[in-house]
Symmetry: C2
Subunit: 443 residues, 2 copies
């Protein structure tokens, strides 16, 4: 319990060395616009799902340099005394606009726009990227699985295959993108997500016989529970399960074998035994492709572990945090961008819209201000939906995005906006983004 709760040092050292030098040379107070965006959709995804925003806003609100952090920076001579003074009083007082949590995104979408002094905005780079990159990668994979599962419920049970804190964030991101439950109890406590789970193979192995294990589980959890039937022999396991629980047994779980074959055999056996309402859940190394391959099998629900918490081959969304505009000494605004050819970014402040045709998305329209026109009223198309909302105003997070209510709002928003995707967006194979990103100058 000796760890500090502050996330202020979850920060790359170069942010503080830049801050230190900027306080010396007078540029620290220049107003800046940083943008968080993805240059591409990693992994050949056809769409991305924004997640982590609500978590991030709470972490920014609590971003403080405490005694332990300041002592470390002093002892290690990371920064000088003036910078330590600045950090001791640090509060983010700027503003953040961006995409709602649960929103879809495409290459170049200005997912977050952070405005403030250079000093206050530069130190948030690592934290903002860590949260958005991780959570969005999980949510994007989860949405693909949700598409593949159709109406069948999905439960996230991958905590053991992710870092212990990332696991909780992953449960949250998967829920936002369409999963219905998680095995992780802390995700239930912290974010209000329904939790599930009954027994592992260890439960059966602990007992002298499978029958004793099943009987005990039913005594504790009732006949509506789900019994894990594949510890020894699945056919015998199912027979024992129904003998012990009766045909009112809630469900059986299968965690091994060739799932289409095993699911069909188990369904036939259950029906033969009269347990026609007993459900089948499968949990063995599923990803979106395996789920899709089970669409015609008699499976009632899926439990997904490794693949969802690790982004199903794409464990990070690859978003970046870039300075896109700043004031000069005269107070004028300058759009800025790195010029290198392979990583070209577009400077300037941006307004983003999803252009719709009869309710279906046709493009991501991004209007760029080279100078610093007020983009708040920019709207170029009658059917365009504005994508940016206020997330932090003068340092204060908008309450609607935080806590358990924020998670529910994000989940509902995702469910709505996914309906706007064209059909081609729902295929699982690697491809280009489902809609093009179109840039237009404001002037």
């Amino acid at each position: 319990m000796s760890d500090s709760r502050s996330l202020a040092l979850h920060t790359d050292r170069y942010e503080l060395t830049m801050l230190d030098a900027a306080l010396r040379d007078g540029t620290a107070g220049r107003r800046c616009v940083f943008e968080l965006f993805g240059r591409r959709l990693s992994g050949g995804r056809r769409f991305g799902v924004v997640a982590g925003t609500g978590r991030l806003l709470e972490l920014i609100r609590d971003f403080r340099f405490g005694e332990d952090e300041l002592r470390f920076l002093r002892d290690e001579r990371v920064v000088d005394a003036a910078t330590l003074d600045f950090l001791e009083g640090y509060r983010f007082t700027g503003s953040i606009t961006g995409y709602r949590e649960g929103e879809l995104y495409f290459p170049g979408s200005p997912i977050l726009t952070i405005e403030g002094t250079f000093a206050e905005a530069v130190v948030l780079e690592t934290l903002a990227l860590s949260v958005l990159n991780h959570d969005s990668a999980v949510a994007t994979a989860a949405a693909r699985m949700s598409v593949a599962a159709g109406d069948r419920p999905l439960a996230e049970m991958g905590s053991r295959r992710a870092g212990e804190s990332s696991a909780i964030a992953a449960a949250r991101a998967a829920y936002i993108a369409g999963f219905g439950a998680t095995s992780n109890l802390e995700a239930g406590r912290r974010w209000g997500i329904p939790t599930m789970g009954t027994a592992a193979h260890a439960w059966t192995l602990l007992h002298d016989t499978e029958e004793e294990a099943f009987r005990s589980q039913i005594d504790a959890l009732g006949a509506g529970t789900t019994l894990l039937v594949d510890t020894y022999d699945t056919r015998e396991g199912v027979a024992t399960a129904i003998r012990v629980a009766g045909i009112e047994l809630g469900g059986v779980r299968i965690d091994s074998g060739d799932l289409p074959l095993v699911a069909a055999a188990v369904r036939a056996q259950l029906d033969e035994l009269g347990a026609t309402s007993t459900k089948i859940t499968v949990t063995s190394d599923l990803d979106e492709y395996a789920i899709a391959a089970l669409a015609a099998s008699p499976v009632d629900s899926y439990g997904v572990g490794t693949s969802v918490v690790t982004g199903s081959g794409t464990p990070t969304a690859g978003m970046v945090y870039k300075l896109v505009a700043r004031q000069d000494d005269a107070g004028g605004w300058v759009a800025v961008a790195k010029a290198s050819t392979d990583k070209g970014s577009k400077g300037g402040r941006k307004a983003a819209f999803r252009v719709l045709d009869a309710g279906t998305a046709t493009s991501e329209l991004i209007i760029i201000s080279d100078g610093f026109e007020d983009l708040s009223t920019a709207k170029a198309h009658p059917d365009a939906r504005a994508l940016q909302v206020a997330l932090v105003v003068d340092g204060e997070p908008e309450a609607a995005h935080g806590g358990i209510a924020g998670v529910e709002a994000a989940r509902a928003h995702h469910s709505r906006v996914r309906e706007e995707l064209p059909v081609r967006a729902l295929a699982l194979s690697r491809s280009d983004p489902a809609i093009p990103t179109v840039y237009r100058d404001a002037s």
Copy 2:
């Protein structure tokens, strides 16, 4: 700051439902042996690197159910009152033996052996797996990069591409496996890892000219600093850097372009300018293959981001936590294992040795006790190195494995044992494990 620090609910719900049922049926007090191991080396790795052990021991020591956690479990009716009482007084009082942190592992290696009552051991499953699976995946990828880099220093700078807490664990794991530094300040504070970093592209873009940015950085950090030279045009950037800093400039960093070509051009330019001791560091999307491809290029050090913190294609080590032996009502020991063919595990307690021939590893020897013979003296080969040490004794972690000293010990141990690997283990392509796992019965 409202989060509880307890990790007690970083737990899959089924662990508590099993505990609940076991307290009812009297099996909760049965002595059990759980084993944490990998069935295979994910990603076609030739060896695995154990990491996370020191972190895990501290987390187990602090694993407590506080008021918030108990209230949640009561309100959600996850467990009954008797189980809540048990959890309120929970302390792990058992013992853990296992591989040293930094040790190599292979399929079936008994990385951790957890002994205690079913009740106290079953609830640690998720936490133990989360920590070991994440940290070992990162350490295994990092070791491959360290092999590829040879004597050139490696810095980890991937915090932004990992969950905010996993990022710190990743920095720690990479350091154990051969990296020399991290960009993550919290990893420096918490685990004593050297930190590094100077400036991002935003630093150059903040200023009116690249020259002003370089001059200011040198004023703050001295001419020994590393200047990022590729914001606009790398050739001009290098020329400006030397004009401003002189030939004493510590280094230049290149973050884009075709690295072998760019590195050669920059080296030639620096030498031409007389800056023959100015070093070149490269940081653009490196993984073990890109590092290997730069072996003949004039690069002095590498900064690695995404690929190391995400396990370079294998973000989780895929280890499992399985009951392998338990007592029966008469107090006798029973070896147990799931029987399903595709996930077959070997029951029984195990002693593990690395068999060496003239200092080079030839096999992973695992001696299995079907009953419960004392394996502490098992040794079947004169050149076999025993791999298991005491990690937790009667609930108390062995101090040598924890804290900053534990990290340094793990790093030193890894460096030593990697020398035992046969040459074929050091190739980067996908393959079978470098040495076979050989099982033998104790009797």
